[in-house]
Amino acid sequence: MIAVSLLLVLLALLGAPLFAIIAAGALISFISIDPELGIAVPIEIFSIAEMPILLAIPLFTFAGYLLSESQAPGRLVRLTSALLGWMPGGLAIVSIGACAFFTAFTGASGVTIIALGAILYPALAQAGYDDRFNLGLVTAGGSLGLLFAPSLPLILYGVVAEVNIDDLFIAGILPGMLMLLSLAAYSLWMNRGNRVPLSDFSWKEVGSALLESAWELPLPLVVLGGIYSGLLAVSEAAAVTAVYVVLVEVVIRREISLKKLPGIMRESMVLVGGILLILGASLASTNYVIDAEVPQKLIGIVTNLVDSRVSFLFLLLLFLLVLGAFLDIFSALVLVVPLILPVAAEYGVEPIHLGMVFLATMQLGYLTPPVGLNLFIASYRFNKPIVSVYLATIPFLLILLAAVIVITFWPGLSLMLLG
């Protein structure tokens, strides 16, 4: 079995699709007990159709894709610069805020760098910011906001860990803000010499930018307001968001032509389908892993080695950092969360807190070589050698790492708003 696992790891590293690796692991495990049991794998994949919450994933992703294809990113930047452009370092803060807002809707799939980076990167250069700083900022910004509702990884964690997604949305606010504010503080510090403000503060500009964004601004309110007023379930809020965004961008603003719409629909569904397929395959492998009592064995091993909660959290953090460097967030979520959830419970780590630690650490994975997705997208998008993207991103990576350490060892930050 160990040889088979190693072979699968090798195939994964060579670039085999992850759904196939996970499905192969599950198939081999079940078939080795009894060839007839292989049927468990398609049955588990079919159980995708038994989880009502999953509807939220395609609908939110589609809404995010549609927004990124419209002029909404530009409007968002204009509004934030009207509000914050007057301070030194203001445009950097603008970038951070706009990226976070956008990523919450697009689920850190690289869309943020493509949609917003194209606007922010040249704007930052024009405002006299250092090129290396800009490259790092835009790259790091591409996964910022992962902890804010309704981000896709947040929903997927709720599905896998069987945690209330409404609670996760609330829990993400403070840890997400911490990451945002640390980057903002660093940007201000780095640009303390750059005294040239982007623009003067003008109520008129704020007013007209507000008016221009009047259709998009209520979106977070639609999502969060709908959910927390009890009017909408999470998947229903996703349906409302999708309808709303189509109405605004296609019917009212007409920034997306009807001709372009099917292409966007298809692209967003291809992304979502890939993630759901990995989820389906992992449902089968998790099923086997739990039948084989792997979590119990893991608890036995870990409790022998680690005696306190603090040292467990430390070990967890290290493990997740390495994991995030190699595995994409979705595969890591569906494969690893079912394994560590019971172990973490043994040390009194709340599932919601674990979720914040997990997602925040995986967010760093977007920025760590060798496989950090944002690094490649930024390198491709801004036509920079990958090594200079690595180097530019390192300071941002370290700051976010500090924030992740705080999130890990201060559970209160994640749980405070839940009371």
Binding site: G15, A16, A20, F46, I48, A49, P52, L54
Partner: protein
């Protein structure tokens, strides 16, 4: 290849048709999920209750989207993958790695298709139904069908890599449809 133009043009037509069908189905399913999802809410708010079959239909649509998107990703070889080692390989090494990976993926997909078909057979034998009367196997059949097509796609990729490895020529159409 030039020896069997008729066969090839049939394949090409099937390709085009398949691609069109994928795109249309993905868009229709998404539109269906949005439309049905929104009408369920409106109906509930208006106090008229909601379609009894609505939620079940939406959940099945999510599965269908996943499977059809799987076929589309296989066509473009765009499934989520790690791909660290191949960066360090020579062009020929890359082709060989891709050859192995594509063969492995094809075998996994075809095995899944086979077991998926077993699942469908059981559903037919047991007379499972959805929506209070429709045979369940119609909706489950997407699983073996999609994996069969994905397996076919990866076999096509495999054949192309094999040609690369044997002739030593790099494919210029990487990322395009086979």
């Amino acid at each position: 290849m030039t020896r069997r133009p008729a066969f090839k043009s049939v394949l090409e037509k099937a390709e085009l048709l398949g691609r069109l069908l994928e795109n249309v189905l993905l868009s229709l399913l998404l539109a269906g999920m949005i439309g049905l999802g929104a009408s369920q809410i409106l109906l509930r708010w208006s106090g008229a209750g909601s379609f009894v079959w609505g939620d079940e239909a939406i959940r099945l649509m999510v599965l269908w989207v996943a499977m059809i998107a799987g076929i589309a990703s296989a066509r473009e070889d765009r499934h989520i993958a790690i791909d660290v080692l191949s960066r360090f390989l020579s062009p020929r090494g890359k082709s060989i790695a891709a050859l192995i990976v594509d063969f492995f993926t094809a075998v996994v997909c075809l095995t899944l298709a086979w077991y998926g078909w077993r699942m469908v057979e059981f559903a037919i034998e047991d007379g499972d139904v959805f929506f209070g009367g429709l045979p369940a196997w119609i909706f489950q059949a997407i699983i073996p069908a999609a994996f069969l097509l994905m397996g076919y796609r990866y076999l096509v990729w495999f054949a192309r890599r094999l040609r690369e490895v044997v002739t030593g020529q790099q494919s210029t159409m990487q990322g395009a449809q086979p």
